[in-house]
Amino acid sequence: MAQNKAFVLFPVKKQSEARVVITGAGVVSALGIGWRANAEGFRTGRVAFGPVTLFDVSRQRAKTAAEVRLPESSSNGEDRASQLLMLATKEAWTQANWEPGNDLPLVLGTTSGGMSLGEAFYRQAITTPGKRRGQPTRVLHYQPQRQALELANAFGFSGPITIIANACASGANAVGHAFELVRSGQAQRVLTGGYDALSHLVFAGFDSLQALSTTQCRPFDAARDGLGLGEGAAMLCLESLAHAQQRGTTILGEIVGYGAASDPHHLTQPDPEGNAAYQAMSAACENARIRPEQIDYINAHGTGTSLNDSAEALAITRLLGNPPARVPVSSTKPSVGHLLGAAGAIEAVVSLMALREGWLPPTGTTRELDALCNFPVVRETTRAEPQCVLSNSFGFGGANAALVLRRYS
């Protein structure tokens, strides 16, 4: 493999601002593998939840999750999270028709990396102390940077690897950071996205917080009772418009804005007024140089938990002004679950699908709308021609991020 070009991470040479376009998108979720299967599922609001089969949940409150059915051929000895990451990258890479290179930064979001390997390591360490068989491999491949390096090796590229672990906003932060690298001219192209596989520790963690729904994930429903966990990966090939045009490649859409803000209120609960969510959305709009009323659709974080949805509803209402602009909102988490570190990335891809294919993804499970929702919630398959979409992601620890995507013209 060619060696890195000799550039430095700091100081960064100031360049003129570039337009940032998406030339490849790959997605793996419980709805299926690839753009087509996922687009059809999101368009119709198909719910892909089922009983958990990956670990024992018999002693827990919640029993369902949105598991991915991985093809047996995809294993190659990798753990589940790496397989998800590889599959999504393969689709994005092929679509973008990218060539390997030595100047390609990789920006990933994840919350767990290879958590299932960490769990296996611990189980063996306590049940058979001193037995080393398989343990060094688990230690190595558990770490997200090793999974990222394997990805780089598999696709033959090199460049700085940045792994952002901002809980459930990780994926949006990763895509946002990648967008900034291209827009500022620090990179001509960046591979970015998020991934997370279901793991027992994380499932039990959300269950212990009583944050998991025991019925069905129903974002913005007055009687919502929690979130549903899923797994998957979504990857995006970002490049400067000039670079994409020079290659003569198909442009799928454009990222035009990114905003991030921190909420110091509580480790697991948002500020009830949604102040940081509002700040992130406002910053993203400002960054995109658009007014909130120019947004045609908001893909909400919409977890289905009482606290998140009420704070987000207030923040969206505040963003849309008084009287509020009639901007349709929906959450796609009832379909594929909360993908944690991949959530922001897959929701960016769903937003891209809406822009490309002319529909709005419904939140089909919501019945009676929460009175706090002063905006229309999309609950049925809807034809539309959105030009500009806002995608929200909020996480534990007060991480808030928003992305603005636009139809390319």
Binding site: M1, Q3, N4, K5, A6, V8, L9, F10, P11, V12, R59, Q60, R61, T111, G113, F121, Y122, R123, A125, I126, P129, Q135, V139, P144, Q145, R146, L149, A152, S158, P160, I161, T162, I163, I164, A165, N166, A167, N173, H177, S184, H200, L201, A204, G205, D207, S208, L209, Q210, A260, A261, S262, P264, H265, L267, T268, A276, F396, G397, G398, A399
Partner: protein, 330 residues
């Protein structure tokens, strides 16, 4: 702006709490004490270097967010507050870097899950998340701006420095606190020993506060090299490529810790170095993401004390990248 200034430094290490303890240990050249950490299921304990209990409980630990927090959070907050000192800024960012992260609570929580998931503590789980230390630090400081947690091998701390410095240089924020932190647990100690039985895992944190330069004699971060990945090349090749990007300087602060096999790449890359040299990890142990800030802080302190006018930091990370930085004092 082509350089950003170091507005403050803070450190927690096996030498103790604060810069003074680190400075004294580095000056003495005497390795810190080694503790024995019980390994459940085995008679033989693990050798580690832990942070001693503070002589006086830091006042910041009374903050409501720190009541149940783990060691790594306390290290990160303490180092961060020391680095921030009396700097008052309206718009500041935080970049927290970890490798193993909140491993103590993760291990405890998962153990409870295996015992009985229905009884696993909801208080522990949120503290297992990678960004818990950065979030607590942000909450203590009332931060509402950028707050990233980066995960990677110890070289990631220098990536974090570059990110924070870029935010400051671009004027997006007035200052940025860049923190690296780790905590020791038998799980991580045992894990690293699988690759070299001499691994002496250590814990602590280091923080560097970056802001715009204000006066001539300040220490500035001049450059962070490219991230020289170990993809398709060896650690030695990565280390040599990193070294080739760094300019001449008076002082080198390396990551050598006295483990022949592990240190080989870095020793080879700097074989012909004839200037002053410091190797903090020889005295403090392998602090992973805490160790690279210790190196940076040793370099910055030497510059601030007038012992040199330019210093290099070399981080040949364990499984991701070799990366270096240069600090100078005009």
């Amino acid at each position: 702006m082509s350089a950003v200034a170091v507005g403050g430094i803070g450190v927690v290490s096996p030498a103790g709490w604060g810069l003074k303890a680190l400075r004294e240990t580095l000056a003495s050249g005497a390795p810190g004490a080694v503790q024995k950490l019980a390994r459940p299921g085995l008679e033989k304990p693990l050798d580690v270097r832990q942070v001693p209990a503070p002589a006086q409980r830091p006042a910041c630990f009374q903050h409501p967010r720190l009541r149940r927090s783990s060691a790594i959070t306390r290290f990160a907050v303490s180092a961060g507050l020391e680095a921030l000192g009396k700097n008052e800024v309206a718009r500041f960012g935080i970049v927290t870097c970890v490798m193993s992260g909140c491993v103590q609570y993760s291990r405890r929580f998962y153990h409870e899950v295996l015992d009985n998931p229905a009884a696993a503590s909801p208080l522990l789980f949120p503290e297992t998340v990678f960004n818990a230390p950065g979030s607590h630090l942000g909450s203590v400081l009332g931060n509402v701006s950028m707050n990233y947690t980066l995960v990677g091998d110890p070289g990631t701390f220098l990536q974090g420095l570059a990110l924070g410095a870029t935010w400051v240089a671009e004027g997006r924020i007035d200052g940025c606190l860049v923190v690296g932190a780790e905590e020791v647990d038998w799980v991580t100690s045992e894990s690293f020993r699988m690759f070299d039985k001499d691994f002496l895992l250590a814990e602590g944190a280091g923080a560097i506060y970056l802001r715009e330069p204000r006066q001539q004699s300040e220490v500035t971060l001049e450059c962070v090299t490219d991230s020289h990945l170990y993809s398709g090349r060896s650690r030695l090749e990565g280390a040599k490529a990193m070294r080739a990007q760094l300019p001449a300087a008076d002082l080198l602060v390396d990551g050598i810790q006295g483990m022949r096999r592990y240190d080989r790449a870095e020793i080879e890359a700097w074989r012909d170095w004839t200037g002053q040299r410091l190797s903090p990890k020889r005295l403090l142990g392998e602090g992973l993401m805490a160790a690279s800030p210790w190196q940076c802080i040793a370099a910055i302190d030497a510059l601030q004390q007038g012992r040199c006018s330019s210093a290099l930091v070399s981080v040949v990370g364990c499984n991701q990248q070799a990366i270096g930085a240069q600090f100078v004092r005009a």
